[in-house]
Amino acid sequence: MPSVSVTHDDLAVVVKGHFKAAIFSPAWLSKQQLIGPREYEAAEVELITADIAKFNCGWLRCLVTPDTLQFSTKSEDDFERVRDAVVGVLRILDQTPVGALGINRTADVEVGNDERWHQIGDTLVPKSYWNNVLTLPGLSNLTLWGVRPDTYAGRIQVAVEPSASVQYGIKIAYNDHYELTHVDHQPVDREEVLEMRPNIAAEASTQKSVTAREILRDGFQDSIERSNAMITHVSNIGDLK
């Protein structure tokens, strides 16, 4: 876990593809043995229609639409179980075409006081550039992209914004985005980044479902460790010590 004061810590695994939302329900997950009897009994269904399935099974929150499967949890104890549930769904629905995978971590970090809180915003986005054209400029949201540290196509995205749940807190959203194909190498300069543009229309295929499972099985912990490092790094920007 990051070595900072995290007050809320969410994980969401998002798979883009072609899904039939109507088949997803607590009963189906239970029948497939992806949740246990306790989770099934604790299930709360918000909405299940032909196009949307939205329900909670204890620690597991599920949202399925025609192009998205999103399983998430608010408990760091259950990060691996969310991963397992997604892997299980992709394995069981192995003929479902998949186009992209995201391992998302969202953390609210308490930074202690307003001085340090502003210091983070001012360091990330220096206000001197804006003062002549904007009165009292402040950071509302900052999103950055970076290249992946492996040979998968995709990107690392990090967004920083004020926390809605902690008074002097920031929300850091980390998106480990995979397009489920390999590249010979990652860009090494900005020209190359422009040449290797993001995949505008990710083709979905069943082969990519296999790749998604491999990534979740073999690369999940690395992704969590990268998000830990990012949360710690951003949170320490405002350290005045």
Binding site: M1, S3, S5, T7, H8, V14, K16, K31, L34, G36, D51, I52, T65, P66, D67, Q70, D77, E80, R81, D84, A85, G88, R91, I92, G99, A100, L101, G102, N104, T106, E110, W117, I120, G121, D122, K127, L136, G138, L139, S140, T143, L144, W145, E161, P162, A164, S165, V166, Q167, K171, A173, N175, L194, N199, I200, A201, A202, A204, Q221, E225
Partner: protein, 193 residues
């Protein structure tokens, strides 16, 4: 975004903008199917339910918050953290392991750290009540989380044990895994011949 960071760019290219879902509405749930009609990169950021952003200064009001504050509603009540203000998590370790022995009240598991370079394999005993006492059996795979916490200056350690569920497997799937494992074993063996 890279093209924004590049000073020669005339401005953000709409083709490159991420398809971040709109918040507080369901319209983002009805986007076209992947790879069809859409002219922007696929995003795998989670769909969220509520807008964020509070307060002013170095970090500013979000647009949603400006709108919210423009009506005569009470000031926001911050959602409390999941613990008292003096509570601090000083460290957390995670293991994955296999249950090796079960008796009346306890079970033993062999645990491997999930985090790199965080120590050797260990054996540990847990109360059966930390899982479902009626179903825990040798061979079960578990996740163990141990936290070191401080509350009012006092250190304590707490653990959480979770059963791993891999879903239902058909006999054909198990046979396929077995075949792949044997093939891999043969491939490794040939490297030492």
């Amino acid at each position: 975004m890279t093209q924004v960071a590049r000073n020669t760019a005339p401005g953000p290219n709409p083709r490159m903008l991420p398809t971040t879902p709109s918040v507080s509405s369901l319209d983002h749930l009805y986007r076209p199917a992947i790879g069809v009609e859409r002219d922007v990169p696929v995003t795998t950021s989670p769909i969220i339910d509520k807008a964020a952003g509070v307060s002013t200064g170095g970090i500013a009001l979000s647009a949603a918050e400006v709108i919210r504050r423009s009506v005569t509603r009470p000031e926001p009540i911050f959602e409390p953290a999941n613990h008292p203000s003096d509570y601090r998590v000083a460290g957390m370790d995670k293991w994955e392991g296999r249950v090796t022995h079960v008796d009346d009240d306890w079970f033993t598991a062999e645990l491997t750290p999930l985090t790199k370079d965080s120590g050797p394999m260990v054996q540990a005993e847990f109360e059966k009540t930390q899982l479902d006492p009626d179903t825990v059996c040798p061979g079960d795979v578990i996740y163990v989380t141990v936290r070191t916490t401080y509350e009012y200056g006092l250190q304590s350690r707490t653990s959480a044990v979770r059963l791993r569920r891999l879903g239902a497997w058909t006999a054909e799937e198990v046979a396929g895994v077995h075949e792949r494992a044997q093939r891999r074993a043969r491939d490794i063996a040939t490297k030492f011949e």
